[in-house]
C-alpha cells in the first residue's frame, strides 16, 4: 500500500500545474506577434519569473514577522463537514 502523500507536496504540485497552465494560456498567442513584441514580453516574463520566486521566498519571512506581531487568524477548517451534516440531515428526514 502506497504511503499517504505529503499534503504540502500535493498542494505545491497543484499550484505549479495551475500556474503553468495559466502562463501557457496567457502566452499562447505570442508566436503570432511581431519580433519586437516578443522580445518585450520575454523581458517582462523574465522579470515576472524573478518576482514569482522572490514572492515564494519572502512570504514565509513576512508571515513569521506578522505572527510575532500578533497579526493572525484561525482557520476554521471545515472542509467536508457541511456535506456530511447535510447528508445526515437528508438521511434522517423521512423517519
Amino acid at each position: 500500500m502506497a504511503p499517504p502523500a505529503d499534503p504540502a507536496a500535493t498542494r505545491h504540485a497543484t499550484v505549479a500545474v495551475l500556474a503553468i497552465a495559466a502562463a501557457a494560456f496567457a502566452l499562447a498567442p505570442l508566436p503570432r506577434c511581431d519580433h519586437e513584441t516578443q522580445r518585450a514580453v520575454a523581458v517582462s516574463a523574465v522579470v515576472s519569473l524573478a518576482g514569482f520566486f522572490a514572492t515564494r521566498a519572502l512570504i514565509p519571512l513576512v508571515a513569521a514577522r506578522t505572527l510575532r506581531a500578533g497579526l493572525f487568524g484561525l482557520d476554521i477548517n471545515k472542509k467536508g463537514q457541511w456535506r456530511m451534516e447535510w447528508e445526515g440531515w437528508w438521511r434522517g428526514r423521512g423517519r
Binding site: P7, R11, H12, T14, V15, L18, A19, A22, F25, A26, L27, A28, P29, L30, R32, C33, D34, E36, T37, R39, A40, V41, V43, S44, A45, V47, S48, L49, A50, G51, F52, F53, A54, T55, R56, L58, I59, P60, L61, V62, A63, T66, L67, L71, F72, G73, L74, D75, I76, N77, K78, K79, Q81, W82, E85, W89, G92, R93, G94, R95
Partner: protein, 300 residues
C-alpha cells in the same frame, strides 16, 4: 419576578419528536465546531510580500523598457511614463490600504470606498475614453460597431466646453437627450469602476486560495486577450500600444499571485489579506488600463 412566576415558556412537545427534529433545517456551517487542525494560528497580512515584489517588478521593468533593452530600440515617450507611474502609485496606495485594513480593523462601509481613494493617482493621470469592445460575432450579428463609446453618458459637460471626446458617428445613439449642464463627473465613472473591481475580488476573502485563484484566472485571460489583440492589430498601432501597456502590468501580477497561491492553497499557511486587497486594486487598475488602450483612438 413575573418571569419567575410564569416560568419558562414550554417549547418542547412537538419539536422534540424525531420526525420534527429531522425536518429542521440543517445547521449553519458557522455553528459547526472546527477541527483540531483549525486551531493553529495563521499569519495575516502576508500579502505585503507579493505586493512589494509586484511594485519592484514594475519598477525594474520600467527601467529596462526606458533604456530600450526590452524592445531593442528606442524607449517609450514621456506620456507612457506618466501613465505607468500613475499605475505604480495606485498599486502602492492600494497595498497600503490593504495593510491598514488588516491592522486597524476598518468597518465595511469604509472598506467600500477605500479603493476609490487608491484610484486617485490613476484617475488624475487618465485622459482616455470609456467604451466597450464588442466581440466580433456580436458586432456582426447586431450590426453594432466593434467599439461602442460610452463617454457620451457622462462627458456632456466636456463637449459643451469643446474639450470632450469626439463621438464616433456610428456609436452615437439616435435619440440622445439634450445634454444638461452638469458638473464635471468624468472621474466618477473611473472611481466607481475601481471600487467595483477591488470589492469584487476582496469580497471573496476568507476561503483558502479563492481570492488569489480568481486573480490568476482573470489575469491569464486578460493577458491572453492582450496578446491576441496585439497579434491582430500590431504593436505599432495605438490600440496595440495600449494592449502592450496592459500586458506589462498583468504579467508581474500573474507571477506574484502564483507565488502567493503557493502558500495560500488549501490548507493555507498564510492569509494573503493585504495581497487580496492589493490584488483587487490591481485588478481595477488593469481594467482601467484596458480602457486606456482606446485613448489614442479618439485622437485619430
Amino acid at each position: 419576578m413575573g418571569g419567575v412566576v410564569a416560568g419558562p415558556r414550554p417549547v418542547g412537545g412537538r419539536e422534540t419528536r424525531p420526525r420534527d427534529r429531522a425536518r429542521r433545517p440543517p445547521p449553519s456551517p458557522l455553528s459547526i465546531p472546527g477541527t483540531k487542525a483549525g486551531e493553529r494560528r495563521i499569519p495575516e497580512a502576508a500579502g505585503l510580500a507579493p505586493g512589494a515584489v509586484f511594485l519592484c517588478c514594475l519598477a525594474v521593468f520600467q527601467h529596462l523598457h526606458a533604456s530600450g533593452a526590452a524592445t531593442g530600440g528606442q524607449g517609450p515617450d514621456d506620456a507612457w511614463h506618466v501613465d505607468y507611474n500613475a499605475a505604480l502609485a495606485s498599486c502602492a496606495f492600494m497595498l497600503l490600504l490593504g495593510f491598514a485594513d488588516d491592522v486597524l480593523d476598518i468597518p465595511w462601509r469604509v472598506k467600500l470606498v477605500l479603493p476609490g481613494l487608491a484610484s486617485l493617482p490613476l484617475v488624475v493621470a487618465y485622459g482616455g475614453g470609456t467604451g466597450v469592445a464588442l466581440p466580433r460575432f456580436l458586432a456582426a450579428a447586431t450590426g453594432w460597431p466593434g467599439y461602442v463609446e460610452l463617454g457620451w453618458l457622462y462627458k456632456w459637460w466636456a463637449e459643451e466646453r469643446g474639450e470632450g471626446v469626439a463621438r464616433p458617428s456610428n456609436a452615437t445613439p439616435p435619440h440622445a437627450p439634450t445634454p444638461p449642464p452638469l458638473p464635471p463627473p468624468s472621474s466618477s465613472y473611473m472611481v466607481a469602476l475601481v471600487v467595483f473591481c477591488a470589492n469584487a475580488i476582496n469580497i471573496l476573502a476568507g476561503v483558502n486560495g479563492l481570492e488569489a485563484g480568481q486573480t490568476l484566472v482573470i489575469g491569464s485571460a486578460v493577458a491572453s486577450f492582450n496578446l491576441a489583440s496585439l497579434a491582430a492589430a500590431g504593436a505599432a498601432t495605438a490600440v496595440g500600444r495600449g494592449h502592450l501597456f496592459s500586458l506589462f502590468v498583468v504579467l508581474p501580477l500573474l507571477a506574484v499571485t502564483a507565488g502567493l497561491l503557493w502558500h495560500n492553497w488549501y490548507p493555507s499557511d498564510v492569509v494573503g489579506e493585504g495581497g487580496g486587497a492589493g490584488g483587487g486594486g490591481e485588478e481595477g487598475e488593469r481594467r482601467a488600463e484596458q480602457e486606456e488602450k482606446t485613448r489614442p483612438t479618439h485622437s485619430l
